[in-house]
């Protein structure tokens, strides 16, 4: 998801062309690559993507999250996040809510996704011990996370076995029933249940394709009066949506 390289449809691109003579798809990298889409759980309405590139004992996690609860006690919401390991490698369904309070707590989800293997912390400790350290958590409604760290053996084994699951925690209490709002966290009794309950969940699978960066430079411009681009209603809608994101970006820069 590296966006720093601008992409152009110019002849200069031809300089980089090498015709390869086949070989396995991952010949160039050699190491393992995993990915998952992060889907809303407990009605969080958030979403995201995550990829894990493993090279030797080093793992690079690249994650994008949007639409989560934005504030907690008037401050940016600390969303603790982990790679859970060693169970079915699945995200729980509402059937996992065994106490029937309307919230799948972190504990109730464990038969599906297992215990914490790695804490996706913003700095320092990545072990399970850092699992509920709010000072090391992703913050706010939308964030990018990109970190390289030493992968422990248990998480590495779970990735290989296809049982690793990324879980992002932290719900907006306002979306919960009154009883659930008043309930205490199953992990940290000093926190409310909302603070540590799962908000996003995505099972990690080995990547089928080696994801390149950016778009594709496939135009030389000799027919510049225009190729036959069939205009798509939904494509136009997506472009409008992108315009909205650009506006958001400008606002953020202005705020920064």
């Amino acid at each position: 998801m590296n966006k720093k390289t601008a992409l152009w449809c110019v002849p200069a691109f031809a300089l980089g062309v090498v015709v390869l003579t086949g070989g396995p798809a991952f010949a160039a990298t050699g190491d393992a690559s995993y990915q998952g889409t992060l889907d809303a759980i407990n009605g969080s309405n958030g979403s995201g993507t995550v990829s894990v590139e493993v090279s030797g004992d080093q793992a690079t996690v690249t994650q994008t999250v949007t639409g989560l609860a934005e504030t907690f006690d008037g401050k940016p919401y600390p969303h603790v996040q982990h790679i859970h390991i060693g169970a079915k490698g699945e995200c729980p369904t509402t059937a996992a809510d065994t106490n029937g309070d309307g919230v799948i707590s972190t504990t109730e989800g464990q038969p599906s996704y297992g215990e914490i293997g790695t804490t996706l912390s913003t700095s320092g400790d990545t072990s399970p011990a850092a699992g509920t350290d709010l000072t090391l958590a992703g913050m706010g409604a939308n964030y990018d996370y990109n970190r390289t760290f030493t992968l422990d053996a248990a998480t590495a084994a779970s990735l290989e076995a296809g049982t690793a699951v990324v879980v992002v925690h932290g719900l907006d209490p306002a979306t919960l029933t009154k009883a659930a709002q008043d309930a205490k966290s199953d992990l940290v009794p000093s926190l409310p249940l909302a603070a540590t309950s799962p908000a996003l969940c995505g099972a990690l699978s080995e990547s089928q394709a080696n994801m390149p960066d950016g778009g594709v430079g496939t135009g030389g411009g000799s027919t510049s009066s225009g190729a036959d681009m069939g205009l798509l209603a939904l494509g136009a809608g997506a472009l409008t949506a992108a315009g909205g994101a650009v506006v958001i970006r400008r606002r953020l820069i202005a705020r920064g």
């Binding site: 390289t5 949007t66 913050m139 994801m211 778009g215 135009g219 190729a227 036959d228 494509g235």
Partner: protein, 237 residues
């Protein structure tokens, strides 16, 4: 409780992520609307659900519950798939494309290679993607135009519509038959990697070229056109 001070270090990266996500959503929505496949039948994933009942079968009183090891999930596969075999030729009757296929890897900067613009270039299969017909997102790239040949191999790609056929001949002398699910256009600087190159539950194919209004000043196209297709059948070449 410790709540960290507000940080604003993420700036524009954050909104770029938001833009990528918006495209992913738009694309996914189209994909679902256009996929005519019936809901997938569930393979024995439900085996995990029945596992606890084994406990109640053991009638002998047991002080400790029998530990049932968790069953790892089985990723379900929708539709037909073929074993891996490299592609040699692509034929798209709807837009009169008939091209041999070259092989394309990645440039040193991590972007995908494209065919040479100095000669009449064929389309190319991205070797970092599955071979056409295997499970996953197989990727074939072609130029929309070039200074040497004018209209290039994928000049008419934006005309493709759901239901159109794409035939890919493979080294094992089979022809993989794909049907188009959807066609999308994305700005290159907000290209949705997960929608295009991300894992799929079927044998998928993506045809990619440049799109949008050519910029005479920068001599670039701002967008990419992506055709999404799924394997429906195969036959001998």
């Amino acid at each position: 409780m410790i709540i960290p001070a507000e940080k604003r270090r993420r700036g524009s990266r954050l909104a770029t992520a938001a833009a990528v996500l918006l495209f992913t959503i738009g694309c996914t929505a189209t994909g679902f609307a256009l996929w005519g496949n019936p809901p997938p039948s569930r393979p024995p994933a439900s085996a995990a659900v029945s596992a606890p009942s084994q406990e109640s079968v053991s009638a002998a009183p047991s002080p400790e519950p029998i530990s049932v090891p968790p069953t790892p999930r089985v990723d379900r596969i929708v539709g037909p798939t073929l074993t891996a075999s490299e592609p040699t030729q692509i034929n798209v009757p709807a837009i009169e494309v008939d091209s041999v296929l070259m092989q394309l890897g990645q440039n040193p900067d991590g972007t995908v290679q494209t065919p040479s613009l100095d000669e009449a270039s064929p389309a190319g299969w991205y070797t970092g993607s599955p071979t056409p017909g295997a499970i996953g997102p197989s990727v074939i790239l072609g130029h929309v135009d070039s200074r040497v040949q004018g209209r290039a191999v994928f000049y008419r790609l934006g005309e493709m519509r759901p239901g159109d056929e794409i035939l890919v001949t493979r080294a094992d002398a089979t022809v993989a038959v794909f049907v188009v699910d959807g066609v999308e256009e994305y700005p290159k600087d907000d290209f949705p990697q997960f929608a295009v190159y991300g894992n799929t539950d079927h044998a998928g194919l993506r045809l990619i070229t440049c799109g949008g209004e050519f910029n005479e000043t920068t001599r670039t196209y701002p967008n990419n056109v992506v055709v999404y297709a799924s394997l429906v059948s195969s036959h001998a070449a």
